[in-house]
Structure formats: C-alpha cells, structure tokens
C-alpha cells in the first residue's frame, strides 16, 4: 500500500474522549505515527512527539498509542466550515486495525473510496464510465462533477442573489426619493432656464449627465468600500469559525454586475424625478 496515498481523514469525534496526551518519551519512535489538525493540537495542547491514545470506542477500550509526527492545517471545506476540525490522519493499516469489526471478515480489506489521479484530466468522464462498466457494484465519478456540494452552493448563491435584489429595490426607492427632493430644490433654476430659452430636452440631458455622474461616483465609492471591508469580513468569519476559508471576495464579475445594476437605476431615478418637474408649465416652475 502506498504510504502517501493510504492516509485517511478521520474525524476525531469517532474516537471521542479517548485521545489523551502522554509525556512518555521512551520508545516513541516505535509507535505508529499520525498527523493531527492544528485545531486539535490547539484545543488539547498537543505537540509534535507527544504520544496519544486513540480508540474507536467511546469508552476508550482497545486504545492504541500513536506518536504525533506533525500538525497540519486542514484544507478549508465550505461544507464543514461551522464544525470544529478536530481531526487526525492515520496510515491506512493503522486505521483498519483500529476500526475493523472483528466479526466482519471483509472489514480489514474495506475502504471508503479511492482517489485516482489521471494523466489527462479530460479523460475523467470516460474513465468513470469505464470503471462502472467493468465493476458494476462500484460508483466512480469525476471530482468536478456536480453533486450535493455544488447544489448547496448554487442554492446559497441564489439566496444571496434574492437578498441582493431586495436590497437593490430598497436602494432604488431611496434613490428616487432623494432625486425627487434634489430636483424639487432646483425648481426655480429649471424655471429660469426655461424662461431663458433652454428646451426641456437640453435641461433633461444636463440632469441626466449629472445623475450619471453621481451614480458612477456612488457606485465606485460602494465598490471601494466593498474592497476595503472585504478583509474585515473575512478576518471576522475566519476568526469566528477558525478556518482559512475565504468567505467574501470582490471579483471583477461582482464589480461589473454591481455597476450594471447601479448605473441604469441611478440614471432612471434622475430621469423620472426630472421629468415630473420639467413636464410642468414654465410659470408653475417659477411659481407665478
């Protein structure tokens, strides 16, 4: 069995309370080695070289000693970010010895899955089909195939999008109210311009240009604010869940989508607000 390939990730919860640090230093090299997660090392004050007892039984029966050979940072998993990563990695033979059911003769030869690295990644689909055709009791699938994990993120993304839509609707109403007030403040100015001979169209274009300018400035400020707070959000959630996972990332696609939503809304708000004023008679504008 290839040593590097044979390590399995196992939740320490399985071993429950039976993991205990020991200060024994003699014969440590003879003990089978394990790796433990940083979170486990921190929570139990474990260090490299310590001897720990692991058992598959909550009562600690049939515990076996292992030497901590290293501490690793678990690969961030968005599906499990809320769970504390108290984990250890064992060599596969050690794991099987520890967990195999003596009444099940095949237990010592059973594994959960095999990871296969193909020479050409593009062959993954064909390879999976081939494996399932040759071994009908097995299930093979490419690692990038859509599964429960991707569905989860699609749903969460849909939820965030729905929240964003509601926020944008609220913002649009806010913007419209603001523009109505700002345009109303210019009633006199608009009336004077009309009296001087400026056409409605020309005034409208000026208002539109101003609205567009304000919208661009607002959108850019918002995006800069998002960039500035991105790190704060990530640090908070990384601290909260003790993970290196990135929770928030302002990508170019997010920036473009924000601009695409904000610009038409801002311009439309200024257009609607201006038009309600400009369609009035000149004398009404100058309050005569």
């Amino acid at each position: 069995m290839h040593r590097a390939r044979s390590w399995l990730l196992l939740a320490l919860a399985l071993f429950a309370v039976s993991a205990t640090a020991s200060s024994q230093s003699q014969n440590t090299a003879q003990q089978p080695s394990i790796l433990i997660s940083r979170q486990l090392a921190d929570s139990h004050g474990l260090r490299i070289g310590d001897i720990v007892q692991l058992s598959a039984d909550r009562s600690g029966n049939k515990a076996r000693p292992f030497r901590i050979a290293g501490v690793y940072e678990p690969t961030p998993d968005p599906m499990r970010f809320a769970q504390q990563r108290l984990e250890t990695r064992l060599h596969l033979p050690d794991l099987l010895t520890l967990t195999a059911d003596p009444s099940d003769p095949s237990a010592a030869e059973s594994i959960t899955s095999i990871n296969v690295a193909l020479t050409k990644q593009s062959d993954a689909d064909a390879f999976s089909r081939d494996v399932m055709a040759r071994l009908p009791t097995l299930r093979a699938r490419p690692t990038n195939a859509p599964d429960e994990r991707t569905t989860t993120f699609v749903v969460v993304e849909r939820f965030h999008l729905a929240i964003a839509i509601v926020t944008v609707v609220g913002s649009a109403v806010f913007l419209l109210a603001l523009m109505v007030m700002l345009v109303d403040e210019r009633r006199g100015t608009a009336g004077t311009l009309r009296l001087l001979g400026f056409t409605r169209q020309r005034i409208l274009i000026q208002v539109l240009a101003e609205g567009a300018l304000i919208t661009v400035a607002g959108a850019v400020t918002g995006i800069l604010f998002a960039f500035a707070t991105e790190d704060v959000f990530n640090r908070f959630f990384q601290w909260r869940y003790d993970t290196t996972l990135i929770f928030l990332r302002v990508t170019p696609s997010v920036v473009w989508r924000s601009l695409l939503m904000a610009l038409p809304l801002g311009i439309a708000a200024s257009l609607i607000a201006s038009w309600t004023l400009l369609r009035q008679q000149i004398l009404a504008l100058v309050r005569r």
Partner: protein, 401 residues
C-alpha cells in the same frame, strides 16, 4: 398632539416624497424582519421537528453525528435496561440501513433508507394512510413507506415491494426480501428526495442477514412528565457513562451553535446593514426636507410656535414615516419569507418539514424596538437643525433671496 398634527401636515403636503420614503422603509423593513425570522428560524423549526417525533432524549454510542459513528451493541438488552430506569416512559430502538428496490434488470435500482423500529413502542412517524407496523409477525413482513417513495413507485396500501439490503461489503450475496406495504406515513426528518421504508427490527436482520445484528444506530427515549428530559438524561448518564446521551434541548443548542450558525451570522450582518440603511434613508429624507423648509419653520417660530413643538414635529415626522413603512413591511416580509424559504429549502439533504423563516413574537418585538431606535436616531440631526435655527437671520435671508 399639536406636534403630531404639525408632522402629519408636513407629510401630506408632499405626498410623493412621503410615499417614496414610506416605500423605502417598507422594503428595508421587510428585509429586516425576515432576517430577524431567519436568525432563529432554523433552530425553532428543528426543535419543533424533534418534539414532533415524540421522544425527548437520544442515546448514541458516541458524540459523532447520528448515522456516521459506531453503532450501539447489544441494543435490545440496552433498550430494556434503559426502559427500566426510573423516569423513562418508553425506549425506541432505531436501526437505519441502506437498501435498494429490486426492479427489472433494465431499470436502475432506487436507493432507500430502511428504518427498523420496535412496533410495540409508539412510532416516530405520522401515518397518513393505511395501518402502522403490526405487533405480530405474519407470513409476509409489513412495512410503512414515505409519501414520495409511494408516489415514485406507484405504491399503495397492499402493494408488494422487494428490497435488497446494502448493509455491508458482502451485500451482493444477500437474498432480496419481499414486503407488503401496510401504510404510508410522513417521517419528520425526510428530505424531499429521500425514499424511506420502515419495518420491524427483525426485518432489518432479515434484510441485512447480519450475523451480529443486534446493533442500533440510536435509542429514542421518552421521559415521564415527572422526571422530564433532563432528569431522564441524567439517570441514563449515571448508569451508562460510556454512552452519549443528549436531550432535544441540548441537540437544538448544539445545532444552533455549530451547524446552523452560518444563517445566524448572515442574518446578524444583514440586520445591521438594513438597520443602518433605514437610518440613513430616514435621516437624509428628513434633513433635506427640513433644509427645504427652514424659512417656513423660521416663520412659524416667529409667529409664536415654540421650539419644542417644532422639534417634536420633526421627531413625529420620522416616527410616522417609520411606523407606516414598518407596518407595510410586515405583509411584504411575509411574502418575501415564503420566497426566500422556498429557495433555501432546496438545499440537499434537509428535512422537507424544516423551515428557515419561522415567526415568533420575540422577532416582532425586536423589529419594533429596532425600528423605533432607528427612527429616533435618524431624527436627531434634523431636530438639532430646527432647534438651533436663527429665526431673524433665516427670515432675512429668505426675503433677500
């Protein structure tokens, strides 16, 4: 009362502006209220699901999530012993195994979860059609199936069903077992896609042909009203310290702290953002509105209106905008929560009866308090503008301009 009237007149004089302000508050209020519902919705819904199962304590071999860790050995004896402990009303042994429906060779075999339980103890599912599992064994085993499975396979009460146990690595050599559908039921923790079949403990043994079959995934315990869940759990822990005993309340607390914490965090962030946004909206609307009416306010002050009355008028204007918008927000929030709940409930593997947005009076009280704080905070700056307004200078400026 004069201040309220003053505020009301200010609002109705500019209906478009007021309406937009109210609509803005309604949109923000709806999101705020929904986030308050989301903050505890999952926990409340999950607690309700646990209560509905009719058992208040769970006994597991380890603190690993159910069905992922080791199984309880000599489960039948353990269930009997725990059932004899003072304060315990009933104990239900639960064995969950994987199986496949035996169909024609051309068709793929749909996977099912097979639950083995003791029919003498009240079951955790709710019958919708037919009969529950019989206490006695007949010539053929009777099972109860969930609605989606019955619909998918076109099963009705009395239909026959053949299952192949997928319980171990040697499952290929296990012979398929024939069952009769005795009833159709709702299982509290079923997701919308899962197929569930429930039979007796003996059915599990037959289906899986397990040599060492007396192993259960968990024991569901119902405490007596006198002992309560905590008392019963303590008694079991005292007798069996090696077992993991958890009450419904502890389970809900754990889920709230770990598994469901993301939605609590996201709702906390969005509550803060929407509240700030609402504050900003009202503050800006009132400030601009007051700025446009400075001359008018100065004139009113000059003819004898007291400073406190004018200032209180601005505060009432804010309260009215927020109150009307806040009330409009509630039906909007109800509709929005249905939409958002429908989106989130498509998450794979979630119990179909679990909801993310659940109403509780506490959320409504919190909503009113938060909006009240926002409306008062938003009125502070415009109130200050009005209270420090120099009457003579403002009137002079108005006349000159």
């Amino acid at each position: 009362v004069p201040a309220i009237r003053f505020a009301w007149l200010s609002l109705v004089r500019q209906p478009a502006r007021s309406l937009l302000g109210i609509l803005g508050v309604a949109a923000i209020g709806a999101l705020l209220f929904d986030m308050l519902l989301l903050s505890r919705g999952l926990v409340l819904s999950f607690g309700d699901l646990l209560e509905r199962s009719g058992f208040d304590v769970r006994v597991l071999p380890s603190d690993a999530p159910p069905f992922t860790g080791p199984r309880l050995t000599r489960a039948t004896a353990l269930a009997t012993e725990i059932g004899a402990i003072r304060g315990i009303e009933a104990v239900l042994q639960l064995r969950v195994r994987d199986a496949e429906v035996v169909l024609n060779l051309q068709e793929s075999a749909p996977p099912v979860h097979f639950i083995g339980a003791d029919p003498r103890v009240r079951s955790m599912w709710t019958m919708v059609e037919g009969q529950d599992l019989p206490d006695t064994t007949g010539t053929t085993s009777v099972v109860v199936v969930n609605r989606q499975f019955a619909k998918r396979l076109g099963l009705a009460v009395g239909s026959e069903l053949s299952l192949h146990g997928r319980c171990s690595n040697a499952s290929d050599v296990v012979v398929p077992v024939r069952f009769t559908v005795g009833g159709i039921a709702d299982f509290p923790f079923d997701s919308v896609t899962v197929s569930t079949v429930a039979g007796t403990l003996a059915d599990v043994d037959t289906l899986c042909a397990e040599e060492n079959g007396d192993r259960a995934d968990m024991l569901l315990v119902r405490s007596t009203p006198q002992a309560g869940a905590l008392g019963a759990a303590a008694a079991i822990r005292a007798s069996y310290p090696e077992l993991h005993v958890v009450t419904n309340e502890e389970l809900v607390e754990r889920f709230s702290r770990v598994e469901f914490s993301y939605f609590r965090q996201i709702s906390a962030v969005l509550v803060t953002v929407t509240l700030f946004f609402g504050f900003l909206l009202i503050a800006v609307l009132l400030t601009v509105s007051v700025n446009q009416r400075l001359a008018e306010i100065a004139a009113l002050r000059a003819v004898g209106l007291s400073r406190s009355r004018v200032t209180a008028g601005v505060l009432w204007e804010s309260i009215m905008l927020v109150s009307i918008g806040g009330m409009l927000a509630l039906p909007l929030a109800a509709a929005l929560s249905v939409w958002l709940d429908a989106i989130l409930r498509t998450l794979p593997g979630l119990p179909a009866q679990l909801h993310f947005f659940v109403f509780e009076p506490r959320a409504l009280v919190l909503y009113i308090v938060l909006l009240a704080v926002a409306s008062i905070a938003a009125a502070v700056y415009p109130m200050r503008l009005v209270s420090v307004l120099p009457i003579a200078a403002t009137l002079r400026r108005e006349v000159v301009s």
